[in-house]
């Protein structure tokens, strides 16, 4: 606990920790010192000179070290002749700060007038209008009219694309460098800078591709003017016309808190549609940030291939007909199962689980990444926060490219490392996070199960693991299938136990899952299937929810096909083969909860009305269950959650309403704080709650067994070891409908070491286990020789590592 100091700001006594900046101290006392370049998440630079104030410091007697007192016993104050920046000066005892004195006001007014000399003042057509710090501060602090002659105004390009997602308006830019500093300090991608100098300074990017960062959208939130806008929202709407719905990003297991801004659109025949996504502050999850996937991939919810109504193989059907047909099939046939994915909410999954129990059929999780039961036992528990990790703690990341798979975890881990946590990275190839790692341990694809042993073999690393005050382990599915990930998770759990880090707050195992709510499914006891193809071949009836095994190529229909009841939001390949199609709402059209990889249960709220006749998944399941005399909650997500919380072990004690509780957060956000924190939204609808630990006594609990040896695959002469990896932007049904992202998604490809002798961009034929796919070659020297990386959800149905071949067209001939 650092020493507290007391100072006076505009006559108000403020007590804050030593080292606090004057702007922050003032803000905590409710006094707004105007700023442009300063942002509470970044190092102060004192550039914009907006925060000019008068600062008086008590004079100290050199000899006695005591403050010098004036005639009436008050400490004498020394004011510098000139104004000082509140953003770069820290508080000290007895300091007196004047932010409203005539001199200070004059300084602030001067800065605004100087800024306006080059500013186009095109507020009426500016996207930032209504949420613009410059506009607000001009009103509050600026001159009534500018003395700068209009014909002298500088004229600059207004539509400069910095990459395909972000546009720059050079006239509006006030050169505060917030975007540049965000990219280098926070994102760790230094892809923006100033070109030239003086009044000719301008923001540029020279990366290839331009603005090469998955965090680029955040710069538009912190830009204090309308200089940076997203290609998605620019000219889209005026901020004050927008409604806001609190939500959770559904694109990855981080569970970033977001807001959907919506508006009724004439262009979309009067429907209420989503206009943009903004981060919603949760300092325990995503702080003020989100990644570009979360910001731009939402368009799938309004995709033309959305299912609007239930139907039968024959053709259209009413809900009653569809449900009756489905019930009939489930009644008639013997061998049946339920297959659902982690895209569903906790309530949906719970309903399916209950239904499965009633029918006494298995409920399978549709995934190619296992190990969830270990995370359920050894995962993070209530009170944990990655933001707590720092010096003395250790973070281990195995088999995951966090930058691509869970960008905000990448940020949080990077920050922890910068706070002094020991970061150990173990991956078969270089990944961006490695730049911040203290130890990087390479292993060959196939050797995952040996990694832990390898780490322990290195004295320094073993010590960092053993002696860590807290230990958090992230494990992913880089190059692994179900079996290998399951084995890896077990090994990680064992490591936590052996090093004495199991069962403790701020310690534990985190699965970098492919979907937003996989963790919720694991908590509810869903089981993965090792061989879906076989399952398809032996089953009579299969009830699939939010799963597309046919589209993903996991299953190929050869002859016999089970009766398929398919519940989904989009027209998928599996839907096309379905006997009964049940049309579900996108999560943006209903409420519910997700469980993040950190085991945090968070609520989301309806942003837009139901699409066509769609219904929430849990409601559909409930209606189906009714035909079997099983009463499930069909209307209120709240009640559905309460039932779930009453019966699922690790959810016990959670209360739906309590999920909406918020704690006071720093920095402040919200309308009046745009200049300070940017347009990230305040959190009023809940920060969520982390699940409890598994309750039975540790002794009673099965200890992690030594992982069974997963099948080992190695590159072999004449063959290529094909391994699946995850890229942030893929061609999956939740991403590809966003046209804006197509450039980032890129071609269906295999990534090889340049030593492969193939040309970047060459078209080749990829062959393995009877599959044949035409792909484009991408070269990357970080890929081990003899290995081919195959991005998931790009139309290449590779579920686990396999040996394969490449045929260049000529060799085919």
């Amino acid at each position: 606990m650092s020493k507290m100091v007391t100072l006076s700001i505009d006559g108000i006594q403020v007590t804050v920790p030593e080292g606090t900046l004057i702007v922050d101290a003032a803000r905590q006392a409710g006094i707004d010192i105007p700023v442009f370049c300063y942002h509470p998440k970044m190092e102060p630079v004192g550039m914009c000179r907006m925060c000019l104030v008068e600062i008086g410091r008590p004079m100290i007697d050199r000899n006695t070290g005591q403050p010098i007192l004036d005639e009436n016993g008050q400490p004498k104050l020394q004011f510098l002749g000139k104004l000082e920046t509140a953003c770069t000066n820290t508080v000290s005892d007895g300091m007196v700060v004047l932010t409203q004195s005539e001199k200070a006001r004059a300084g602030q007014k001067a800065t605004v007038e100087f800024l306006l000399t080059s500013h186009p003042l095109d507020c009426p057509i500016c996207d930032k209008g209504g949420e613009c710090p410059l506009q607000d501060l001009t009103m509050a602090y600026g001159p009534t009219q500018s003395r700068f002659l209009y014909e002298d105004k500088i004229h600059l390009a207004k539509h400069v694309p910095l990459g395909e997602l972000i546009y720059l308006d050079r006239e509006r830019c006030i050169l505060c460098a917030r975007c540049i500093r965000f990219q280098s300090e926070i994102a760790g991608d230094a892809v923006l800078t100033f070109d030239e100098r003086g009044r000719s300074s301008q923001i540029i990017t020279s990366s290839e591709p331009p603005f090469d960062s998955v965090f680029s959208g955040n710069t538009t939130d912190i830009c204090p003017v309308g200089a940076l806008t997203t290609a998605d929202f620019r000219f889209g709407a005026r901020p004050w016309e927008l409604k806001a719905a609190a939500s959770i990003c559904s694109q990855c297991p981080v569970g970033c808190n977001i807001v959907y801004n919506t508006r009724r659109e004439a262009r979309s025949d009067g429907r209420i549609v989503i206009k943009r996504v903004l981060p919603r502050q949760n300092e325990e999850v995503n702080e003020l940030w989100i990644c570009d996937k979360g910001r731009f991939a939402y368009h799938y919810t309004e995709s033309p291939s959305r299912l609007a109504a239930p139907r039968l193989a024959g053709g259209p059907a009413s809900w009653d007909q569809a449900l009756e047909k489905a019930a009939q099939a489930l009644r008639t046939w013997q061998k049946k199962a339920i297959l659902a994915s982690g895209r569903l909410s906790n309530e949906d999954l719970y309903a399916l689980k209950r239904f499965a129990e009633a029918l006494n059929v298995p409920a399978y999780l549709y995934t190619s990444m296992g190990g969830g039961e270990w995370v359920r036992r050894y995962g993070l528990r209530a009170g944990s926060d990655l933001g707590h990790l720092g010096a003395g703690d250790t973070i281990l990341v195995i088999g995951s490219d966090l930058y691509e798979e869970a960008p905000i975890w990448y940020l949080r881990v990077k920050q922890a490392a910068e706070r002094g946590a020991t970061l150990i990275l173990s991956n078969p190839r270089f990944t961006r996070l490695e730049r911040f790692a203290h130890y990087a341990v390479r292993y060959a694809y196939g050797d995952e199960s040996e990694v832990i042993g390898r780490l322990n073999a290195d004295a320094k690393i073993a010590q960092a693991l053993r002696e860590a005050r807290n230990l958090v382990i992230f494990f992913g599915s880089e190059g692994m299938g179900l079996e290998q990930t399951e084995a890896l998770a077990a090994a990680c759990a064992q490591l936590l136990t052996e090093t004495g880090h199991a069962e403790r707050v701020d310690n534990g195992l985190v699965g970098v899952w492919p979907r937003a709510n996989d963790q919720g499914a694991w908590e509810m006891g869903f089981e993965p299937v090792s061989d879906l193809q076989a399952l398809f071949e032996e089953l009579d009836v299969l009830y699939l929810v939010a799963a597309d095994p046919l589209g993903d190529g996991v299953v190929r229909l050869n002859g016999r096909k089970p009766f398929l009841i398919v519940q989904d939001i989009l027209e998928t390949e599996t839907v096309r083969q379905a006997d009964v199609v049940l049309a579900a709402c996108a999560y943006t059209e209903r409420e519910g909860t997700f469980t993040s990889g950190e085991r945090r249960v968070q609520r989301y709220f309806p942003a837009v009305p139901h699409w066509g006749e769609c219904k929430p998944d849990f409601a559909i399941t409930a209606m189906l269950a009714e035909a079997f005399g099983l009463r499930l909650e069909a209307h209120s997500a709240a009640r559905a959650f309460q039932e779930l919380a009453a019966s699922v072990e690790t959810f016990k004690g959670l209360d739906y309403a309590a999920l909406s509780e918020v704690r006071a957060q720093w920095p402040p956000t919200g309308r009046e704080d745009y200049p300070f924190s940017g347009t990230a939204q305040p959190n009023t609808q809940g920060m969520g709650k982390t699940l409890a630990a598994v309750t039975e006594a540790p002794s009673a609990r099965p200890q992690p067994k030594v992982p069974r040896e997963a099948e080992r695959l190695r590159p072999e002469e004449g063959t290529l070891l094909l391994v699946p990896i995850t890229r942030l932007f893929d061609a999956g049904s939740l991403v590809s409908p966003s046209a804006l992202l197509h450039k980032r998604i890129g071609a269906r490809r295999v990534i090889l070491n340049p030593a492969s002798g193939l040309e970047q961009g060459a078209q080749v034929l990829l062959e393995w286990e009877g599959h044949q796919v035409e792909v484009t070659v991408e070269l990357d020297e970080n890929v081990p020789a003899g290995v081919g990386l195959v991005p998931r959800s790009m139309g290449i149905p590779l579920q686990q590592p396999a040996r394969g071949h490449l045929h260049t067209p000529e060799r085919v001939r």
Binding site: V191, T193, R197, S206, S207
Partner: protein, 161 residues
């Protein structure tokens, strides 16, 4: 051929000047090295320097853009940079520039047809007592021409290869 291949010795010597953990300090000498190649710094050179220093190309571009002696575009082989700053101007630098410009047939900022000379106006170069003065910047570096007359200047410029 990359800079690293062509100038490995020199590059090593440059890196040796700075603490190994602060190799970024080597950027300015490396940029001069690159500029020696074609009289300006190509995109490819920036990429290579970024790699050598383990920083982003963007960071390199930002440095190139800040300093007036680095150029990211090809111009005349010789940049004739006449100082017209206050002290020189007090000693006739403006007239000198005007006459030289006429003699060369190019305005300040322009390059002649053969691509030999680019005429430029620059700020003080620290030769105020020998005005009129200009410096010639080429791939080889910077050379001063002091106490100049237009005739003398044309003489000197003719001598350049």
């Amino acid at each position: 051929m990359t800079l690293a291949e062509k100038y490995s010795q020199e590059i090593q010597a440059i890196f040796a000047k700075y603490p190994p953990e602060h190799k970024r300090s080597a950027i300015m000498p490396l940029l001069y090295l690159a500029q020696r190649e074609e009289g300006y710094i190509s995109r490819q050179a920036m990429e290579e320097i970024a790699e050598l220093l383990e920083i982003s190309v963007t960071e390199v571009a930002g440095v190139v853009g800040f300093y007036t002696l680095y150029h990211d575009r090809k111009e005349g082989k010789y940049r004739v940079q006449v100082c017209t700053d206050l002290p020189c101007a007090l000693r006739g630098a403006d007239e000198f520039l005007k006459e030289l410009s006429q003699a060369l047939g190019i305005q300040p900022g322009e390059t002649d047809a053969e691509g030999r000379f680019t005429l430029e106006e620059v700020m003080c170069i620290g030769a105020c007592h020998r005005a009129p003065v200009f410096q010639v910047q080429s791939a080889e570096g910077v050379t001063y021409y002091e106490n100049m007359t237009v005739e003398g200047a044309l003489e000197a410029l003719k001598k350049l290869e």
